[in-house]
């Protein structure tokens, strides 16, 4: 194993993490809700049927996109990205991510950031599980196939 050492990148990531944490703390302190993105998004779908929860969820999701856009405007090239798969891979993996996050009651934000902070046993187990399977998948895709 070779480790990429980029201290400026680590600082930038740390700063990003602090902003994410601040957002999650605000949402819990003000609205009393957990900043779990898969649950918030799924709560907008017609199948959710809880209309009273609809508007804040739509606004949060809209905020995510606006946040990305604002950031890209202020810092050109900030949202640079390199895609890892083609169209079919995106569609298939999107399906699996959507199905899995609902079945497992959360994703990186709800389990990883908020659940661990609440020392929820379920969230700790879920985070270890998706990290492990993510690493195994990358290992298979990059070093076996």
């Amino acid at each position: 194993m070779e480790i990429v050492i980029q201290p400026e990148q680590w600082l930038r990531s740390l700063a990003g993490g602090l902003v994410i944490g601040f957002s999650a703390v605000l949402l819990l302190g003000i609205n009393g809700r957990i900043a779990g993105i898969s649950s918030i998004l799924a709560g907008i779908l017609p199948s959710a049927r809880v209309m009273s929860e609809w508007s804040w969820r739509v606004m949060f999701i809209a905020g995510l996109i606006v946040g990305g856009a604002v950031f890209a405007l202020l810092w050109p090239g900030a949202l640079q990205h390199t895609l890892q798969t083609g169209w079919a891979g995106m569609a298939l993996a999107g399906l699996v991510v959507g199905f899995g996050t609902r079945m497992g009651s959360g994703c990186t934000s709800g389990h990883g950031v908020c659940g661990i902070a609440r020392t929820s046993r379920r969230s700790i187990v879920a985070t270890v599980t998706f990290m492990t399977f993510g690493m195994l998948t990358v290992f298979i895709v990059r070093h076996v196939l």
Binding site: G16, I20, I30, L64, V66, G68, L79, A126, F133, F139
Partner: protein, 159 residues
């Protein structure tokens, strides 16, 4: 009431989106490099989760001791406590999809701001997957309810 709750949610979403972009989570190549322990491992993204937890861990502990949040009557928290198969299988599936594309739900939504069509394909497929999963859960609960109510009704008809 609803207006200010929506406004604070918008602000939180905005901050969250900025944090994900700043942290580097919106670049699938960085995510995959973080998950690639056997290759050139880029630990940067550990700082994103670490930085977030640095704030949420003490702050949540403090907040949840309060009687109520600012704009609501009570805190709405997950109620499930037990480790079940759905949690493990769901997290495993999510991990596989995350490893293939380097995208988890939040960054995928933020990346829609780039206008790159592949991100739209991912997000639409993700929504379909969520809907499917919720349908399956609904059918499971219905079947369970049937199982618990059917014997009692058959008893009634038998007597």
């Amino acid at each position: 009431m609803t207006f200010r709750k929506s406004l604070s949610a918008l602000l939180c979403g905005l901050l969250f989106g900025v944090g994900l972009s700043l942290g580097g989570m919106t670049d699938p190549a960085k995510v995959v490099a973080f998950l690639d322990l056997a290759g050139r491992w880029d630990p940067s993204l550990a700082f994103v989760m670490g930085g977030a937890l640095l704030l949420t861990t003490p702050a949540f502990r403090w907040l949840l001791r309060l009687k109520r949040p600012m704009f609501e009557e009570r805190f709405v928290l997950p109620t499930k406590q037990d480790l079940d198969l759905n949690l493990l299988a769901g997290a495993a599936l999510f991990g596989i999809g995350w490893g293939i594309t380097g995208l988890c739900p939040g960054p995928a939504i933020v990346a829609l701001a780039t206008g790159v069509p592949q991100f739209f394909v991912f997000v639409v497929a993700m929504i379909v997957g969520m809907w499917l999963s919720d349908r399956v859960t609904l059918l499971q609960t219905r079947r369970q309810m049937m199982r618990t109510t059917v014997p009692s009704t058959s008893n009634l008809s038998g007597s």
